[in-house]
């Protein structure tokens, strides 16, 4: 595929920011992309996989992904690794030292932040990494810039011998905007030349490389001031009354809310063209920095002695909007709404829920019955913390559940281990849980770890992993055997259970928490949403009204396919039912039956 599906048969294509980055990587002649999925970054690698010329893979975690990309760069090819903001924490170790060694082939690290936390556990601002690791960082403001800046980032990576970062936010990643694509360039692999002083980071060499890093940063700063870094910034001069310094999505809000303001738009958010900004600030009466999340730009320019307004006017939290800008700059703006919102009946909340047929639900119902303390992890199953199962006590980061359970065990002299479990998905377990399990076994833990093995990375949209038996192209791949892995680590008690069988789950968990050693329960059932699905459509559940007492025990499991009808009888939506038959197991009157039993 040389060009993505051209939506309109026109030059302009409508691409997600993430699709545009994949296209930009293709045009830049990228050879290798290794990533771990994470909203909102996932679709970059998903779309890059559609270009046969690019080798793509799902790595076991972000650190591995970046190291693979680094190795590819070392070998002379252009390479990229993409991740969400919290993934960059995992990849931070190679990132900081890759800054010292520099690159051979161009190396670009894409990180997608999630202001507003649409699908994340924190709201961290990844721009701090650029400053901390001393790396250039681009921030595009639409899909066209996503494509252009990706190409630019590869060119600059090779020009300045440095990894280059590309920072996105959810609205950039997940907005479709028009893009004019370019021609793919041939990018012959650079020869690999052994260079111990550059690539082996022992103290003696690293001391010298740190000097190189600081020299590189000074060079980039000088080049920025003299306009030698294309795409670094653009200045639009209008009224001298108000000047705005901004970047990324915030730039689009500024454009619309403040059409008369002079705007200094940053393409490169680190390092900054300080003297250019100083001159711009001096040329306007009021100078304001508009940036989502932390006062990153504001702090940088204030440190350089440039007076500005910024976070004193805005918030550190959530996404910005035109309404927010209007509140600050155009307080007289009036709206002409179709509804007086305060006069409408308040709409009850609609939190996300586990899907119909979700294999995690039965297991969480078992945990709920046992009233255990549950150390949780990151994935669809984090929804087990909410009603109706309410069976999670803590959720911190990828892989943390296993270590947390061990900590609870040790701090209570093994007392807590009899009342607690860790739950972790297959992909999350392989991401970073496995190293914690080694730690637990080695250090004499008596904790219980439940691996929720649905054979896929579910929450991010069904990416394959090492336990799926499939690669990124859905082609057969070596399938990791979780049981053998745990056995090799030294876990002596390993059980397998069907998570939809609540009684069996209760029994095996009760037994496991009592064992005086690390126990692993593999709760195995594929995600209901991946083919072939959990059950056959002809087996969707039917109601026997004669047997139904309208007790609504089935409604309480909160299956999206099962609604309480106005007459009190459950209504089953055959379009949504995935025939897991969990509801038939909670019905004490035999009123619900799978199609074949009915």
């Amino acid at each position: 595929m040389d060009k993505p599906a051209n939506a309109a048969g026109l030059d302009r294509q409508l691409l997600l920011g993430n699709e545009a980055i994949a296209r930009g990587a293709f045009e830049a002649g990228v050879k290798v992309i290794s990533s771990y999925p994470g909203t909102p970054s996932t679709e970059i690698t998903v779309n890059a996989a559609k270009y046969p010329r690019i080798y793509t893979e799902w790595a076991t975690n972000e650190k591995v992904g970046l190291e693979v990309a680094y190795g590819a760069s070392l070998g002379g090819g252009r390479a990229m690794s993409c991740m969400k903001h919290v993934g960059l924490n995992v990849a931070a170790d190679p990132l900081f030292t890759a800054s010292y060694t520099g690159v051979n082939g161009g190396l670009v690290v894409v990180v997608a932040d999630d202001p507003g936390m649409h699908s994340s556990q924190n709201e961290q601002d990844s721009r701090h990494y650029a400053r901390a690791a001393k790396l250039m960082m681009f921030e595009p403001a639409d899909s066209q810039e996503c494509l252009d800046m990706t190409r630019q980032a590869f060119a600059l990576s090779e020009q300045y011998d440095t990894p280059v970062m590309l920072r996105l936010t959810t609205r950039i990643s997940h907005s479709r905007t028009q893009v004019t694509v370019g021609e793919p360039q041939e990018q012959p692999r650079r020869p690999y030349v052994k260079d111990m002083m550059k690539y082996v980071m022992m103290p003696g060499m690293a001391i010298k490389r740190h000097v190189v890093v600081e020299g590189r940063q000074s060079q980039i700063s000088n080049d920025l001031e003299t306009g030698l870094v294309p795409g670094a910034f653009t200045i639009s001069r209008k009224s001298a009354k108000l000047g705005i310094l901004t970047s990324g999505m915030a730039y689009q809000y500024v454009r619309e809310a403040l059409p008369d303001a002079s705007v200094f738009k940053l393409g490169l958010v680190y390092p900054l063209p300080i003297e250019q900004i100083r001159a711009f600030a001096d040329s306007v009466e009021r100078f304001v920095v508009v940036e989502e999340l932390d006062p990153f730009i504001e702090t940088e320019i204030k440190a350089a002695g440039i007076a500005c307004e910024g976070k004193s006017l805005f918030t550190l939290q959530g996404e910005y909007s035109i309404a927010l800008l209007n509140k600050v700059f155009n307080p007289d703006t009036t709206l002409d709404p179709a509804y007086d919102a305060s006069a409408l009946t308040p709409a009850p909340g609609r939190p996300p829920v586990m899907c119909a047929g979700c294999p995690h639900k039965g297991l969480f119902m078992a945990l709920n019955r046992l009233k255990l303390t549950v150390a949780g992890d990151i994935g669809c199953y984090t929804l087990g913390a909410l009603s109706p199962t309410n069976a999670m006590d803590a959720c911190l980061c990828m892989g943390a559940s296993v270590g947390m359970a061990h900590g609870l065990d040790q701090v209570t002299d093994h007392e807590m281990a009899r009342k607690s479990v860790a739950v972790i998905g297959d992909s999350t377990f392989l991401h970073t849980g496995v190293s914690s399990l080694i730690n637990s076994v080695y250090n004499g833990s008596t904790s219980t770890v439940i691996i929720l093995d649905n054979s896929i990375t579910g929450m991010t949209g069904h990416q394959q992993n090492a336990a799926s038996g499939l690669d990124i192209h859905n082609q057969p791949a070596p399938e990791l055997d979780l049981e053998q892995l745990c056995r090799a680590i030294g876990v002596r008690s390993i059980y397998e259970v069907d998570p939809a069988d609540i009684k069996a789950c209760v029994k095996v968990i009760k037994q496991s928490v009592e064992e005086p050693n690390v126990t692993v329960i593999i709760a195995k059932r594929p995600c209901a949403l991946i083919p072939p699905g959990i059950g056959k459509k002809e087996e969707v559940v039917k109601l026997d009204r004669d047997k139904c007492t309208r007790c609504q025990a089935c409604i309480k499991i909160m299956c999206p396919a099962l609604l309480a009808g106005p007459d009190g009888y459950p209504q089953i939506d055959p379009n949504i039912c995935n025939a897991c038959h969990l509801c038939t197991r909670v019905c004490n009157f035999g009123a619900l039956k799978g199609g074949n039993e009915a």
Partner: protein, 203 residues
């Protein structure tokens, strides 16, 4: 059209109802009309049965991809409660199109909250200015067209009747967005959505 078309359309519903595809279709329509367009989607956790919104903005130039309060020309709600939740986005004189479907959220099935009654008539009665509310069983129409999954295209068909956009443009967009085996169903779904509004306008 002497004035270039400018439309803000919010597609709201419950995760999994097809708002993403509807957004892609509208984006393609804008592309075919030679307009600038931005479509903002929500992926990830909210897709798991949560409240979802896709914003579509088309005009000569579009900066922000987000529709702000009282800025939407159309709200296409795939579910009744979601119409109520997002109604504040509609501008005076705009139109709300509601699929007659009630999906009780978790807060209702656990008894924490009650599903509001008579949402459509409330929206109808409390609409200010020339704002309009249209409601119909889009899922039934989609079923009749061949698949309940085409509910999103029924909604677009209904909206199309209230715009100046040539239906042929929508037909082209359907051909561009859907694989061949799904096109016939979606063309039919689009037509029945368009017809239902014609019927409603005549009364």
């Amino acid at each position: 059209m002497s004035q270039p078309l400018s439309l803000n359309i919010a597609l709201v519903g419950v995760g999994g109802q097809g708002t993403l595809v509807a957004g892609k279709l509208l984006g393609t329509v804008a592309n075919l009309l030679g307009l600038d367009v931005k479509v903002s989607e929500v992926h990830g956790m909210s897709q798991r049965g949560g409240s979802v919104i896709t914003y579509v903005r088309m005009a000569e130039t579009v900066a922000s991809p987000i529709i702000e309060p009282a800025q939407a020309d159309f709200i296409l709600s795939f579910e009744e409660l979601e119409a109520l939740r997002w109604a504040y986005l509609l501008k005076s004189g705009g139109a709300m199109l509601v699929n007659n479907l009630q999906i009780p959220p978790a807060t209702v099935s656990t008894g924490v909250a009650k599903y509001p009654q008579d949402i459509v008539s409330e929206l109808d009665q409390k609409a200010l200015g020339q704002s309009k509310v249209f409601s119909f069983d889009a899922q039934k129409l989609a079923d009749e067209a061949g698949s309940y999954r085409a509910t999103n295209v029924v909604m677009l068909g209904a909206m199309s009747r209230l715009t100046e956009i040539d239906p042929d443009i929508f037909a082209q967009a359907i051909n561009l967005v859907f694989p061949e085996k799904l096109r016939a169903v979606n063309h039919k779904a689009f037509q029945s959505g368009s017809d239902i509004i014609k019927y409603k306008c005549e009364f």
